[in-house]
Amino acid sequence: MTAEIVSIDNLWIFREEHAILEDINLKLERADFLGLIGPNGGGKSTLLKVMLGLIKPDKGRIRIFGMEPEAARARMGYLPQKTIFDQNFPIKVLEVVQMGRFGRTGLFRRYGPADRNAAYCALEAVGMEDRADREIGALSGGEQQRVFVARSLVSDPELLLLDEPTAGVDSSQQTDFYELLCHLNQDMGIAIVLVSHDITAISKYVGKIACLNQRLYYHGSKELTNEDIEKAYGCPVEMIAHGTPHRVLRKHD
Protein backbone atom coordinates (compact mmCIF):
# COMPACT_ATOMS: atom_id res chain seq x y z
CA MET A 1 0.00 0.00 0.00
CA THR A 2 2.85 2.34 0.67
CA ALA A 3 5.94 3.00 -1.36
CA GLU A 4 7.09 5.16 1.52
CA ILE A 5 10.10 3.87 3.36
CA VAL A 6 10.04 6.48 6.05
CA SER A 7 6.95 8.33 7.10
CA ILE A 8 7.16 10.73 10.03
CA ASP A 9 4.21 12.94 10.97
CA ASN A 10 4.20 15.70 13.56
CA LEU A 11 6.75 13.92 15.70
CA TRP A 12 7.96 15.44 18.97
CA ILE A 13 10.63 14.26 21.38
CA PHE A 14 11.05 15.84 24.80
CA ARG A 15 13.81 15.47 27.32
CA GLU A 16 13.10 16.95 30.73
CA GLU A 17 10.44 19.34 29.43
CA HIS A 18 12.63 20.56 26.57
CA ALA A 19 11.75 19.71 23.03
CA ILE A 20 14.66 18.04 21.28
CA LEU A 21 12.70 17.39 18.13
CA GLU A 22 9.81 19.68 17.26
CA ASP A 23 7.03 18.75 14.93
CA ILE A 24 9.13 16.72 12.52
CA ASN A 25 7.61 15.73 9.19
CA LEU A 26 9.58 13.62 6.78
CA LYS A 27 8.80 11.27 3.93
CA LEU A 28 11.35 9.13 2.17
CA GLU A 29 10.86 6.78 -0.74
CA ARG A 30 12.82 3.94 -2.24
CA ALA A 31 16.30 4.93 -3.40
CA ASP A 32 16.13 8.38 -1.80
CA PHE A 33 19.46 9.74 -0.62
CA LEU A 34 18.95 12.33 2.09
CA GLY A 35 21.72 14.45 3.54
CA LEU A 36 20.84 15.56 7.06
CA ILE A 37 22.77 18.59 8.27
CA GLY A 38 22.47 20.88 11.25
CA PRO A 39 24.36 22.26 14.22
CA ASN A 40 25.70 20.07 17.02
CA GLY A 41 22.98 19.21 19.49
CA GLY A 42 20.36 19.87 16.82
CA GLY A 43 18.94 16.36 17.19
CA LYS A 44 20.44 14.60 14.15
CA SER A 45 21.56 11.49 16.02
CA THR A 46 18.33 11.52 18.01
CA LEU A 47 16.29 11.45 14.81
CA LEU A 48 18.25 8.42 13.59
CA LYS A 49 17.63 6.68 16.90
CA VAL A 50 13.91 7.40 16.59
CA MET A 51 13.99 5.78 13.16
CA LEU A 52 15.67 2.73 14.67
CA GLY A 53 13.04 2.56 17.39
CA LEU A 54 15.59 3.15 20.16
CA ILE A 55 13.76 6.32 21.22
CA LYS A 56 9.98 6.42 21.25
CA PRO A 57 8.20 9.55 20.04
CA ASP A 58 6.42 11.54 22.76
CA LYS A 59 3.96 12.86 20.21
CA GLY A 60 3.29 12.10 16.60
CA ARG A 61 3.73 9.06 14.47
CA ILE A 62 6.57 7.26 12.76
CA ARG A 63 6.38 4.35 10.37
CA ILE A 64 9.27 2.60 8.65
CA PHE A 65 8.14 0.43 5.73
CA GLY A 66 4.65 1.04 7.11
CA MET A 67 5.59 -0.65 10.42
CA GLU A 68 6.68 0.29 13.89
CA PRO A 69 10.41 1.10 13.74
CA GLU A 70 11.31 -1.78 16.04
CA ALA A 71 9.58 -4.29 13.79
CA ALA A 72 11.37 -2.85 10.77
CA ARG A 73 14.79 -2.93 12.38
CA ALA A 74 15.92 -6.02 10.50
CA ARG A 75 15.41 -4.14 7.24
CA MET A 76 17.60 -1.22 8.31
CA GLY A 77 21.36 -0.90 8.43
CA TYR A 78 22.93 1.46 10.94
CA LEU A 79 26.34 3.01 11.31
CA PRO A 80 26.71 4.73 14.71
CA GLN A 81 28.38 8.10 15.01
CA LYS A 82 31.70 6.87 16.24
CA THR A 83 32.71 3.31 16.70
CA ILE A 84 35.00 3.29 19.67
CA PHE A 85 36.61 -0.07 20.16
CA ASP A 86 39.75 -1.63 21.49
CA GLN A 87 42.19 -1.58 18.54
CA ASN A 88 43.76 -4.77 19.92
CA PHE A 89 40.46 -6.63 20.19
CA PRO A 90 41.08 -10.18 18.93
CA ILE A 91 38.50 -10.24 16.19
CA LYS A 92 38.67 -10.76 12.44
CA VAL A 93 37.10 -8.40 9.93
CA LEU A 94 34.68 -11.11 8.83
CA GLU A 95 33.47 -11.59 12.41
CA VAL A 96 32.87 -7.86 12.77
CA VAL A 97 30.78 -7.81 9.61
CA GLN A 98 28.79 -10.86 10.72
CA MET A 99 27.57 -8.90 13.75
CA GLY A 100 25.21 -7.12 11.38
CA ARG A 101 23.40 -10.43 10.88
CA PHE A 102 22.31 -10.54 14.50
CA GLY A 103 18.86 -9.12 13.73
CA ARG A 104 18.25 -11.92 11.23
CA THR A 105 19.79 -14.74 13.22
CA GLY A 106 18.30 -13.88 16.59
CA LEU A 107 19.26 -14.70 20.16
CA PHE A 108 20.88 -18.06 21.00
CA ARG A 109 21.23 -19.14 17.36
CA ARG A 110 24.60 -19.55 15.70
CA TYR A 111 25.58 -17.95 12.43
CA GLY A 112 25.20 -20.28 9.47
CA PRO A 113 26.83 -20.50 6.01
CA ALA A 114 24.31 -17.96 4.69
CA ASP A 115 25.53 -15.41 7.25
CA ARG A 116 29.11 -16.10 6.26
CA ASN A 117 28.34 -15.65 2.58
CA ALA A 118 26.45 -12.44 3.25
CA ALA A 119 29.45 -11.13 5.17
CA TYR A 120 31.77 -11.87 2.24
CA CYS A 121 29.34 -10.18 -0.17
CA ALA A 122 29.11 -7.09 2.04
CA LEU A 123 32.90 -6.91 2.19
CA GLU A 124 33.01 -7.20 -1.58
CA ALA A 125 30.52 -4.34 -1.89
CA VAL A 126 32.90 -2.06 0.02
CA GLY A 127 36.00 -3.45 -1.69
CA MET A 128 37.41 -5.07 1.43
CA GLU A 129 36.98 -8.76 0.60
CA ASP A 130 40.74 -9.38 0.68
CA ARG A 131 40.83 -8.20 4.30
CA ALA A 132 38.24 -10.68 5.59
CA ASP A 133 40.72 -12.69 7.64
CA ARG A 134 42.76 -9.78 8.97
CA GLU A 135 42.30 -8.51 12.50
CA ILE A 136 40.23 -5.33 12.58
CA GLY A 137 42.94 -3.39 14.43
CA ALA A 138 45.43 -4.03 11.62
CA LEU A 139 43.38 -1.91 9.20
CA SER A 140 43.66 1.84 8.63
CA GLY A 141 40.94 4.19 9.89
CA GLY A 142 39.37 4.49 6.44
CA GLU A 143 39.40 0.74 5.91
CA GLN A 144 37.84 0.16 9.32
CA GLN A 145 35.07 2.59 8.43
CA ARG A 146 34.42 0.59 5.26
CA VAL A 147 34.19 -2.56 7.34
CA PHE A 148 31.60 -0.89 9.56
CA VAL A 149 29.65 0.13 6.46
CA ALA A 150 29.84 -3.52 5.36
CA ARG A 151 28.48 -4.47 8.78
CA SER A 152 25.51 -2.14 8.24
CA LEU A 153 24.97 -3.64 4.76
CA VAL A 154 25.25 -7.30 5.63
CA SER A 155 21.60 -7.66 6.58
CA ASP A 156 20.60 -6.56 3.03
CA PRO A 157 18.93 -3.41 4.33
CA GLU A 158 16.55 -1.35 2.27
CA LEU A 159 17.33 1.70 4.40
CA LEU A 160 20.77 2.72 5.57
CA LEU A 161 21.22 5.18 8.44
CA LEU A 162 24.71 6.65 8.63
CA ASP A 163 25.71 8.95 11.47
CA GLU A 164 28.71 11.06 10.44
CA PRO A 165 30.39 8.16 8.68
CA THR A 166 33.38 10.16 7.46
CA ALA A 167 34.54 11.33 10.88
CA GLY A 168 38.15 10.27 11.23
CA VAL A 169 38.50 9.37 7.56
CA ASP A 170 41.03 11.47 5.65
CA SER A 171 39.83 13.57 2.75
CA SER A 172 41.20 11.42 -0.06
CA GLN A 173 39.40 8.41 1.37
CA GLN A 174 36.26 10.49 1.89
CA THR A 175 35.72 10.89 -1.85
CA ASP A 176 35.98 7.14 -2.34
CA PHE A 177 33.62 6.66 0.53
CA TYR A 178 30.93 8.97 -0.90
CA GLU A 179 31.26 7.28 -4.26
CA LEU A 180 30.68 3.95 -2.57
CA LEU A 181 27.48 5.34 -1.05
CA CYS A 182 26.32 6.59 -4.46
CA HIS A 183 26.89 3.13 -5.86
CA LEU A 184 24.85 1.53 -3.08
CA ASN A 185 22.12 4.08 -3.56
CA GLN A 186 21.91 4.13 -7.36
CA ASP A 187 22.85 0.58 -8.32
CA MET A 188 21.41 -1.32 -5.39
CA GLY A 189 18.44 0.95 -4.73
CA ILE A 190 19.16 1.36 -1.02
CA ALA A 191 17.64 4.44 0.57
CA ILE A 192 20.22 6.34 2.62
CA VAL A 193 20.02 8.92 5.36
CA LEU A 194 23.43 10.48 5.79
CA VAL A 195 24.04 12.68 8.82
CA SER A 196 26.90 15.10 8.36
CA HIS A 197 27.90 18.62 9.23
CA ASP A 198 29.88 18.99 6.05
CA ILE A 199 27.40 20.39 3.56
CA THR A 200 30.08 21.10 0.99
CA ALA A 201 31.13 17.51 0.79
CA ILE A 202 27.76 15.85 0.85
CA SER A 203 25.81 18.22 -1.41
CA LYS A 204 27.74 16.82 -4.37
CA TYR A 205 26.42 13.33 -3.73
CA VAL A 206 23.04 13.38 -1.99
CA GLY A 207 19.71 13.75 -3.75
CA LYS A 208 17.96 15.72 -1.04
CA ILE A 209 19.06 17.86 1.87
CA ALA A 210 17.30 18.57 5.14
CA CYS A 211 18.55 20.81 7.90
CA LEU A 212 17.72 19.94 11.49
CA ASN A 213 17.83 22.11 14.57
CA GLN A 214 14.95 20.91 16.71
CA ARG A 215 12.79 21.69 13.67
CA LEU A 216 13.37 20.11 10.32
CA TYR A 217 13.84 22.41 7.34
CA TYR A 218 13.11 20.32 4.32
CA HIS A 219 11.42 20.83 0.99
CA GLY A 220 11.74 17.37 -0.48
CA SER A 221 14.63 18.55 -2.61
CA LYS A 222 18.25 19.55 -2.53
CA GLU A 223 17.32 23.21 -2.08
CA LEU A 224 17.49 24.96 1.22
CA THR A 225 16.76 28.65 1.37
CA ASN A 226 19.04 31.13 3.03
CA GLU A 227 16.27 31.61 5.56
CA ASP A 228 16.13 27.89 6.38
CA ILE A 229 19.79 27.74 7.17
CA GLU A 230 19.72 30.94 9.19
CA LYS A 231 16.82 29.65 11.23
CA ALA A 232 18.41 26.25 11.72
CA TYR A 233 21.82 27.46 12.69
CA GLY A 234 20.45 30.40 14.62
CA CYS A 235 22.92 32.89 13.24
CA PRO A 236 23.43 34.85 10.04
CA VAL A 237 25.22 32.87 7.44
CA GLU A 238 27.06 33.72 4.32
CA MET A 239 26.13 31.47 1.51
CA ILE A 240 28.20 30.99 -1.51
CA ALA A 241 25.78 29.19 -3.70
CA HIS A 242 26.85 29.10 -7.27
CA GLY A 243 24.84 25.95 -7.81
CA THR A 244 26.56 23.26 -5.81
CA PRO A 245 28.55 22.86 -3.69
CA HIS A 246 27.09 25.12 -1.08
CA ARG A 247 29.17 26.48 1.65
CA VAL A 248 27.97 27.71 4.97
CA LEU A 249 30.15 29.94 7.06
CA ARG A 250 29.39 31.42 10.37
CA LYS A 251 29.87 35.18 10.30
CA HIS A 252 31.23 35.45 13.80
CA ASP A 253 31.12 33.61 17.04
Binding site: E70, T83, D86, I91, K92, E95, R110
Partner: protein, 268 residues
Protein backbone atom coordinates in the same frame (compact mmCIF):
# COMPACT_ATOMS: atom_id res chain seq x y z
CA UNK B 1 62.14 -33.33 40.59
CA UNK B 2 59.90 -35.97 39.04
CA UNK B 3 60.34 -38.19 42.04
CA UNK B 4 59.47 -35.28 44.24
CA UNK B 5 56.30 -34.64 42.27
CA UNK B 6 55.18 -38.22 42.59
CA UNK B 7 55.94 -38.06 46.24
CA UNK B 8 54.03 -34.83 46.52
CA UNK B 9 50.85 -36.03 44.86
CA UNK B 10 50.58 -39.27 46.77
CA UNK B 11 48.72 -37.29 49.40
CA UNK B 12 44.97 -37.06 48.91
CA UNK B 13 44.81 -33.43 49.93
CA UNK B 14 47.42 -32.55 47.32
CA UNK B 15 45.50 -34.38 44.60
CA UNK B 16 42.30 -32.61 45.61
CA UNK B 17 44.13 -29.29 45.66
CA UNK B 18 45.53 -29.92 42.20
CA UNK B 19 42.12 -30.93 40.82
CA UNK B 20 40.55 -27.79 42.27
CA UNK B 21 43.38 -25.69 40.87
CA UNK B 22 43.06 -27.12 37.37
CA UNK B 23 39.28 -26.69 37.30
CA UNK B 24 39.75 -23.09 38.46
CA UNK B 25 42.32 -22.51 35.75
CA UNK B 26 39.81 -23.48 33.06
CA UNK B 27 37.16 -21.29 34.67
CA UNK B 28 39.56 -18.33 34.81
CA UNK B 29 40.68 -18.94 31.26
CA UNK B 30 37.17 -18.49 29.94
CA UNK B 31 35.65 -15.84 32.17
CA UNK B 32 38.92 -13.91 32.58
CA UNK B 33 39.07 -13.15 28.84
CA UNK B 34 35.67 -11.47 29.05
CA UNK B 35 36.75 -9.54 32.13
CA UNK B 36 39.74 -8.23 30.17
CA UNK B 37 37.90 -7.50 26.92
CA UNK B 38 35.04 -5.73 28.65
CA UNK B 39 37.45 -3.80 30.86
CA UNK B 40 35.63 -4.84 34.01
CA UNK B 41 38.73 -5.71 36.01
CA UNK B 42 38.03 -3.15 38.72
CA UNK B 43 34.37 -4.07 39.08
CA UNK B 44 35.35 -7.75 39.29
CA UNK B 45 37.81 -6.96 42.04
CA UNK B 46 35.09 -4.94 43.80
CA UNK B 47 32.72 -7.91 43.58
CA UNK B 48 35.39 -10.19 45.09
CA UNK B 49 35.92 -7.88 48.03
CA UNK B 50 32.21 -7.35 48.54
CA UNK B 51 31.73 -11.12 48.70
CA UNK B 52 33.57 -10.99 51.98
CA UNK B 53 30.58 -9.20 53.55
CA UNK B 54 28.37 -12.15 52.62
CA UNK B 55 30.91 -14.67 53.88
CA UNK B 56 30.98 -12.87 57.23
CA UNK B 57 27.20 -12.85 57.37
CA UNK B 58 27.08 -16.57 56.60
CA UNK B 59 29.43 -17.28 59.48
CA UNK B 60 27.55 -14.99 61.80
CA UNK B 61 24.22 -16.66 61.08
CA UNK B 62 25.74 -20.14 60.99
CA UNK B 63 24.97 -20.91 57.33
CA UNK B 64 27.26 -21.89 54.46
CA UNK B 65 29.47 -18.82 54.00
CA UNK B 66 30.02 -19.48 50.29
CA UNK B 67 26.32 -19.30 49.46
CA UNK B 68 26.11 -15.95 51.23
CA UNK B 69 29.32 -14.93 49.50
CA UNK B 70 27.81 -15.60 46.08
CA UNK B 71 24.65 -13.77 47.12
CA UNK B 72 26.46 -10.64 48.21
CA UNK B 73 28.71 -10.75 45.15
CA UNK B 74 25.74 -10.86 42.79
CA UNK B 75 23.90 -8.17 44.78
CA UNK B 76 27.00 -6.00 44.57
CA UNK B 77 27.13 -6.42 40.79
CA UNK B 78 23.50 -5.33 40.55
CA UNK B 79 23.97 -2.61 43.17
CA UNK B 80 26.91 -1.03 41.40
CA UNK B 81 24.89 -0.99 38.20
CA UNK B 82 21.97 0.72 39.96
CA UNK B 83 23.92 3.27 41.97
CA UNK B 84 26.32 4.38 39.26
CA UNK B 85 24.97 7.02 36.96
CA UNK B 86 22.65 8.25 39.68
CA UNK B 87 23.14 11.23 41.96
CA UNK B 88 26.46 12.04 40.31
CA UNK B 89 28.09 8.77 41.33
CA UNK B 90 30.31 7.33 38.63
CA UNK B 91 30.80 3.59 38.29
CA UNK B 92 34.31 3.47 39.72
CA UNK B 93 33.21 5.55 42.72
CA UNK B 94 30.35 3.11 43.31
CA UNK B 95 32.78 0.18 43.10
CA UNK B 96 35.09 1.82 45.65
CA UNK B 97 32.21 2.29 48.07
CA UNK B 98 30.81 -1.23 47.64
CA UNK B 99 34.14 -3.02 47.97
CA UNK B 100 35.16 -1.24 51.15
CA UNK B 101 31.72 -1.67 52.67
CA UNK B 102 31.78 -5.39 51.93
CA UNK B 103 35.22 -5.82 53.48
CA UNK B 104 34.25 -3.83 56.58
CA UNK B 105 31.09 -5.88 57.05
CA UNK B 106 33.04 -9.10 56.60
CA UNK B 107 35.68 -8.20 59.16
CA UNK B 108 33.05 -7.00 61.63
CA UNK B 109 30.80 -10.06 61.34
CA UNK B 110 33.67 -12.57 61.36
CA UNK B 111 35.07 -11.00 64.51
CA UNK B 112 31.67 -11.15 66.16
CA UNK B 113 31.35 -14.85 65.28
CA UNK B 114 33.58 -16.23 68.01
CA UNK B 115 35.78 -19.17 67.16
CA UNK B 116 35.75 -18.68 63.43
CA UNK B 117 37.96 -15.62 63.20
CA UNK B 118 40.99 -17.77 62.43
CA UNK B 119 39.42 -18.55 59.02
CA UNK B 120 39.78 -14.86 58.18
CA UNK B 121 43.30 -15.44 56.92
CA UNK B 122 42.17 -18.28 54.67
CA UNK B 123 39.49 -16.15 53.01
CA UNK B 124 41.77 -13.19 52.48
CA UNK B 125 44.77 -15.08 51.16
CA UNK B 126 43.35 -18.46 50.14
CA UNK B 127 44.22 -21.95 51.21
CA UNK B 128 44.10 -24.43 48.38
CA UNK B 129 45.17 -27.24 50.71
CA UNK B 130 41.95 -26.85 52.70
CA UNK B 131 39.83 -27.48 49.60
CA UNK B 132 37.50 -30.47 49.82
CA UNK B 133 36.30 -32.89 47.16
CA UNK B 134 32.93 -31.11 47.31
CA UNK B 135 34.64 -27.86 46.42
CA UNK B 136 36.20 -29.55 43.41
CA UNK B 137 32.78 -30.75 42.27
CA UNK B 138 31.35 -27.25 42.81
CA UNK B 139 34.12 -25.57 40.81
CA UNK B 140 33.87 -28.15 38.00
CA UNK B 141 30.09 -27.82 37.86
CA UNK B 142 30.32 -24.05 37.68
CA UNK B 143 32.99 -24.26 34.99
CA UNK B 144 30.78 -26.51 32.88
CA UNK B 145 27.74 -24.26 33.37
CA UNK B 146 29.69 -21.17 32.34
CA UNK B 147 31.20 -22.93 29.33
CA UNK B 148 27.70 -23.88 28.22
CA UNK B 149 26.40 -20.30 28.66
CA UNK B 150 29.31 -18.86 26.71
CA UNK B 151 28.81 -21.46 23.98
CA UNK B 152 25.13 -20.57 23.63
CA UNK B 153 25.66 -16.81 23.80
CA UNK B 154 29.02 -16.60 22.06
CA UNK B 155 28.00 -14.21 19.31
CA UNK B 156 25.98 -12.05 21.71
CA UNK B 157 28.91 -11.71 24.13
CA UNK B 158 31.21 -10.98 21.20
CA UNK B 159 29.07 -8.06 20.01
CA UNK B 160 28.67 -6.72 23.55
CA UNK B 161 32.40 -6.96 24.25
CA UNK B 162 33.45 -5.40 20.96
CA UNK B 163 30.89 -2.67 20.38
CA UNK B 164 28.06 -2.36 22.92
CA UNK B 165 26.77 0.89 21.38
CA UNK B 166 26.14 -0.82 18.08
CA UNK B 167 24.76 -3.86 19.90
CA UNK B 168 22.11 -1.76 21.57
CA UNK B 169 21.21 -0.14 18.27
CA UNK B 170 20.53 -3.49 16.62
CA UNK B 171 18.39 -4.68 19.49
CA UNK B 172 20.89 -6.76 21.46
CA UNK B 173 19.90 -6.84 25.17
CA UNK B 174 23.24 -5.33 26.16
CA UNK B 175 22.26 -4.44 29.73
CA UNK B 176 21.00 -7.93 30.52
CA UNK B 177 24.07 -9.51 28.95
CA UNK B 178 26.36 -7.31 31.00
CA UNK B 179 24.50 -8.24 34.15
CA UNK B 180 24.75 -11.91 33.22
CA UNK B 181 28.49 -11.51 32.68
CA UNK B 182 28.86 -9.82 36.07
CA UNK B 183 26.85 -12.61 37.68
CA UNK B 184 29.19 -15.18 36.11
CA UNK B 185 32.14 -13.19 37.41
CA UNK B 186 30.52 -13.10 40.87
CA UNK B 187 30.07 -16.89 40.95
CA UNK B 188 33.59 -17.49 39.65
CA UNK B 189 35.21 -15.08 42.05
CA UNK B 190 33.58 -16.68 45.07
CA UNK B 191 34.70 -20.20 44.23
CA UNK B 192 38.18 -18.91 43.42
CA UNK B 193 38.44 -17.28 46.84
CA UNK B 194 39.16 -20.72 48.28
CA UNK B 195 42.14 -21.09 46.00
CA UNK B 196 43.93 -17.75 46.16
CA UNK B 197 41.83 -15.59 48.48
CA UNK B 198 39.90 -12.37 48.04
CA UNK B 199 42.90 -10.09 47.72
CA UNK B 200 44.57 -12.00 44.91
CA UNK B 201 41.65 -13.49 43.02
CA UNK B 202 41.74 -10.74 40.41
CA UNK B 203 45.25 -11.79 39.39
CA UNK B 204 44.15 -15.36 38.64
CA UNK B 205 41.31 -13.93 36.60
CA UNK B 206 43.41 -11.55 34.52
CA UNK B 207 47.03 -12.71 34.24
CA UNK B 208 46.55 -15.94 32.21
CA UNK B 209 44.26 -14.14 29.75
CA UNK B 210 46.57 -11.15 29.48
CA UNK B 211 49.54 -13.36 28.58
CA UNK B 212 47.53 -15.54 26.21
CA UNK B 213 46.30 -12.46 24.38
CA UNK B 214 49.86 -11.30 23.79
CA UNK B 215 50.70 -14.40 21.81
CA UNK B 216 47.55 -15.87 20.29
CA UNK B 217 44.89 -14.74 17.83
CA UNK B 218 41.19 -15.43 17.84
CA UNK B 219 39.00 -15.63 20.92
CA UNK B 220 38.68 -19.45 21.19
CA UNK B 221 42.47 -19.96 20.97
CA UNK B 222 43.10 -17.19 23.49
CA UNK B 223 40.66 -18.85 25.91
CA UNK B 224 42.30 -22.24 25.49
CA UNK B 225 45.78 -20.75 25.89
CA UNK B 226 44.64 -18.92 28.97
CA UNK B 227 43.30 -22.14 30.53
CA UNK B 228 46.58 -23.94 29.80
CA UNK B 229 48.64 -21.11 31.30
CA UNK B 230 46.42 -21.02 34.38
CA UNK B 231 46.91 -24.77 34.83
CA UNK B 232 50.68 -24.33 34.63
CA UNK B 233 50.68 -21.53 37.21
CA UNK B 234 48.53 -23.51 39.62
CA UNK B 235 50.63 -26.67 39.28
CA UNK B 236 53.98 -24.92 39.52
CA UNK B 237 52.74 -22.72 42.37
CA UNK B 238 51.47 -25.72 44.27
CA UNK B 239 54.72 -27.66 43.91
CA UNK B 240 56.90 -24.68 44.82
CA UNK B 241 54.79 -23.78 47.83
CA UNK B 242 55.02 -27.39 49.03
CA UNK B 243 58.79 -27.51 48.54
CA UNK B 244 59.50 -24.17 50.20
CA UNK B 245 56.69 -24.43 52.72
CA UNK B 246 55.25 -21.01 51.77
CA UNK B 247 51.59 -19.96 51.27
CA UNK B 248 50.09 -21.60 48.17
CA UNK B 249 47.90 -18.67 47.03
CA UNK B 250 50.78 -16.21 47.02
CA UNK B 251 53.06 -18.69 45.26
CA UNK B 252 50.55 -19.29 42.48
CA UNK B 253 50.07 -15.56 41.92
CA UNK B 254 53.82 -14.85 42.01
CA UNK B 255 54.42 -17.62 39.47
CA UNK B 256 51.78 -16.05 37.23
CA UNK B 257 53.25 -12.58 37.74
CA UNK B 258 56.76 -13.71 36.78
CA UNK B 259 55.38 -15.26 33.58
CA UNK B 260 53.46 -12.06 32.88
CA UNK B 261 56.48 -9.78 33.17
CA UNK B 262 58.67 -12.10 31.13
CA UNK B 263 56.00 -12.42 28.46
CA UNK B 264 55.51 -8.65 28.33
CA UNK B 265 59.24 -8.09 27.97
CA UNK B 266 59.40 -10.76 25.28
CA UNK B 267 56.46 -9.53 23.21
CA UNK B 268 57.72 -5.95 23.40
Amino acid sequence: MIELQLDLFQYDFMRVALAAGLASAVLCGIIGIYVILNKIVFISDGIAHAAFGGIGLGYFLGFDPLIFGVGSAVLTAVGIGMVSGRARVSEDTAIGVFMATGMALGVMLLTLSKGYARDLYGYLFGNILAVTINDVLLISGLTLAIMLLIYILYKEFLIMSFDPVYGEAIGLPVKSLRLLLLAMVAFSVVVLIKIVGIIMVIALLTIPGAISRQHLKGLPSIMAGSAVLGSIFVTVGLIVSYMLDVPSGATIILTAAIFFFLSTLYSR
